[in-house]
Symmetry: C2
Subunit: 250 residues, 2 copies
Amino acid sequence: MADHGRTKNRKDRIMDAALRIFAEKSFQEATIAEISKEAGVSEATVYEYFGTKEDLLFAIPEKITNDTFEESQAVLPYIKDVEGRMRAILLSYIQLYQNNPHYSALVLLQLMSNKRFRQTAAHEAIRRSAHNLLDCIREGIANGTFRSDADAYLIRSMLMGAIEHLFIHWHMQGKPKRDKTIMDMLDPFLEIVFNGIRAKKEQQGLTIHLNLQDTRALGEILQNGSMLKSPAQDVKPAPNMKQKNKQKTY
Amino acid sequence: MADHGRTKNRKDRIMDAALRIFAEKSFQEATIAEISKEAGVSEATVYEYFGTKEDLLFAIPEKITNDTFEESQAVLPYIKDVEGRMRAILLSYIQLYQNNPHYSALVLLQLMSNKRFRQTAAHEAIRRSAHNLLDCIREGIANGTFRSDADAYLIRSMLMGAIEHLFIHWHMQGKPKRDKTIMDMLDPFLEIVFNGIRAKKEQQGLTIHLNLQDTRALGEILQNGSMLKSPAQDVKPAPNMKQKNKQKTY
DNA sequence: AATACTTGACAGTGAGACTATGATGATATA
DNA sequence: TATATCATCATAGTCTCACTGTCAAGTATT
């Protein structure tokens, strides 16, 4: 293969450059000329690999999704606890965005670009997560974990919407608005949602006397007890959690 | 004003046509030629009113926002109850989208179009809602309505994110995915969130028996009461999209 | 009717997506 | 070493579309 001395393969170099430029400017404003220059290849080479500018746009999240998202989904079937499984789904979702800072911008660009978006791997991945979540919620309702009157669609939108909202804000305002990462918020977040939709159950075992006027004390008890810190604590975090950041390109 | 027999003023006709075409296609795919034809006006006239295609894109949500959003915000200061005020903010937010079906698409187009978005009335309206919400949440935390350890930013993202998520899905799948409107979901939604973040109080003086092994039960008991009404709408599977595929362009 | 203003038709410019083609030089194979 | 192959590049050219400029014709106001 004639590489003219360049090490990394051209297709990747083009996608890297395009990712940066698309995210920084916008689809209209980015030109193939600029992308090819940034990638150190000729314009014709871009067209060799990607038939159209739009193909290029669609290829990038496709690759990221296939590279980083798929494997993190593999553990899901082994998590029997509904809440733990939901946590794992959201975690992989968050990691997908977190590890690829420009990803959300690109996905939005695609979304707005045209109807083709529905056929992409990125959309498929999101769709599948959404579907899995819905199943979990229904399962939780069916087995009594969640209230029987809970609206599964609504709860799913709460879960995914909040995360997307956090990332969109992140994207719009430049990252470090706060010291807490979105990952840090996952458990408090889930606690609130689960808190709001858990079915009331009977209690067995120890009984204690509480004076319910003392709200503070109650709050302490609630948060220090094992239960309310994320029920999924023992669930092993999805594989690529170490934040390795394989290439700084993204 | 020379109107050549047309009644409605040209500027509005152009914006109407543009709103439809931008939302249906996308920014790139919509051409000024088509918009002007749809509006029954010459191409030059479009440029008379709107200097550039992008100006046209930005002018539309600007108008809608100013027309319909501002007044709905006027009542807010008079609602003293924190939760009631939060509900009102979200309600006006939902109405903004609901009354203008193409609005969300246009706002997203703007968002992705470029950085100018931050100076638009649409963005300003959203920003102000977001800000008001944050204030409400903080006030609720301060006055003991909400748990003291609640994360105000997170809660805001839950509230706004869920609504935006519902609308984006709505936009992507063609409207009537379900019989319930997004407005119908507002109260069940708020119930879950408030449920999850309300400070545990009331039940003054009552002593009850609790099992600390099942912390869930503790939470339930504390939150139990009036708010769990939400009629159990049985979940029906989403009638999956009609796959109409209006244009085979791609 | 006279003047001021608005609109339309049309021609033209420039940017940028995309194509076609032939030259170049690295690599594989004989 | 010689030859074939193939990725890449450079260049030139086509086409679509945003956008401009001009002028004639219509309408409003006086």
